[in-house]
Amino acid sequence: MTTLEFKNVTKKYRVRGAGEMLALDKVSFTLTSGQTIALVGQSGSGKSTIAKILTQLERVSSGDVLLDGTPIPTWGRPLRRYRQTVRMVFQDPFASLNPAHTIRHHIERPLRLDKVVPPDQVEEEVFRLLTRVRLSPEQTIDRRPHELSGGQRQRVAIARALASRPKLLIADEPVSMLDVSIRLEVLNLLAELQSEANLGVLYITHDLATARHFSDEIMVLHHGKVVEHGKADEVILTPKHDYTLALRNASPDPEKHFAAPTTPGATS
């Protein structure tokens, strides 16, 4: 059981000539393995800042981030060990894979860095990971990212994130750049892998509909503040904050406008 805790985290960016910009304002939440929290908010609300702090690409200005009760390390080997437990799937699969390297390289690197398996089993493990995200290993392993479609690339990114066997996964809008027709597939894959490995998932999104289906809790972020946090259905059905209400009203409700749901997956 792994628990990640944000305690009164504040992040300020220094902006040249404009003083400071408050990106996160005393954000607190707890994420445990097996649980999914959806992080909803408009652009610039601080969603990605949370992801960057979790992956330690950014440091907090004040407050604590605790992994199982201990502050997360900021450098050296402890940081690498921390990074092994928290991995991220980036938003844009066209940008998050290095165009100069093969798929093999992308999945092999975390395996070798974190010494997940002995060197002579790396190839086998790459095959296993690719199979797990439903890519044909023989066909994809020696290709470069530009030879794959968006959905296939995102699967590679997911395989890379899972390679180090993390406990927590940050999915930063993992399907927003994908074709609508394959979004559900990728989300289902994520959900399935999550229950397999008992992952804690922080699902960052704009999309309330998938947030409701995909997660246990929804946290609404507005101008760096958590304005609403609760069970997924509660937040959607009885929104307390104006922004949540606006978000809900902005997304189409198939039950309201259509006689029957258009796809079996759109409602539950």
């Binding site: 330690q56 990074r83 092994q84 290095n98 066909q139 890379r160 289902n188 399935e192």
Partner: protein, 347 residues
Amino acid sequence: MTFPNPVAVAAPAAPPVHTRKRTTLSRLGQTFAMFRNGKSLAGLAILGFFVLIAIFGDWIAPYGPLDKDFQALRQAPSWVHWLGTTHMGEDVLSQLIYGTRGVLVVGFTAGVIATIIAVAIGVTAGYVTGWRSESLSALTNVFLVIPGLPLIIIIASQYENPSLLLISSVLAITGWAWGGRVLRAQTMSLRNRDFIQAARANGEPLYRIIAVEMLPNLTAIIASSFVGTVIAAVLGLTTLAFIGVIPITNLNWGTILFWAQQNGAFPDFWWWYVPAGLCIALLGMALSLINFGIDEYVNPRLRSAGERARAMRKKGFVLSDSVTAVRPRAAAKNPSDPGATDASTKH
């Protein structure tokens, strides 16, 4: 926590094709893909020709470069002396062939040294931030505005007999800055890309991020800056030899021009100076062609612009027209104002 739609989970795998085996050869092919286009290949062919001459010059040249035949002074091209002779009766063709080596050796040595400096300083300046980046950038700018030729003249004239390596180094030190600037800009843009962030989040050490994740994405720019520096070095060397800064014992195309100038070859004894000038131009053209080819590989828009223009013309458009130009067919439908549409579409 699961979706009630298991049908969509079945991922459509790509149709089974034969597994592609990655051999050393195909890897090399990937690395040199930037040279695989008409312009680059033409440039490489010309360059290869000069390289062969430089290597096998001793066997190809019909005479020694300084062999004097006092029976044949300032002779026009003939079957005995294909490119005529100098005022001392030396064979111009032989001098040209022997001179190729000096030009290429200096050009490529300077290119290699300059590229190493440019990569080291440019990539570092692009990856680090704050005052470090700014100071390295300032250093680059200083070298960018240093007038190269006068500096080389001053340094070269300090030495009685400057070696090829010294000349190359001086040419490199005055010539790396442009490549360094371009590399800095490209590294700055790469640094914030997601795949670099992903590598950082994976815990990759800094040296691997720069050497393994970034450098392969910079090869085309490094290659093009290398070729650019070689051109500059070749021109610099021949200029130095022509104005007589480099001692005459260092035989190259510039030296031939120097002797021709000193002995009043212009304009009557054309066989003495035209071939050397042509060789310089040809080598410069070859290197430029390679560079254009790399540019097109990096920026495919350059390649397709011509084809797109041709395709547009077939459809009756002119590329330089405004994008809202009216099709000829629409003009027929709209007879009220035929003059205006005709004028904008037919050229």
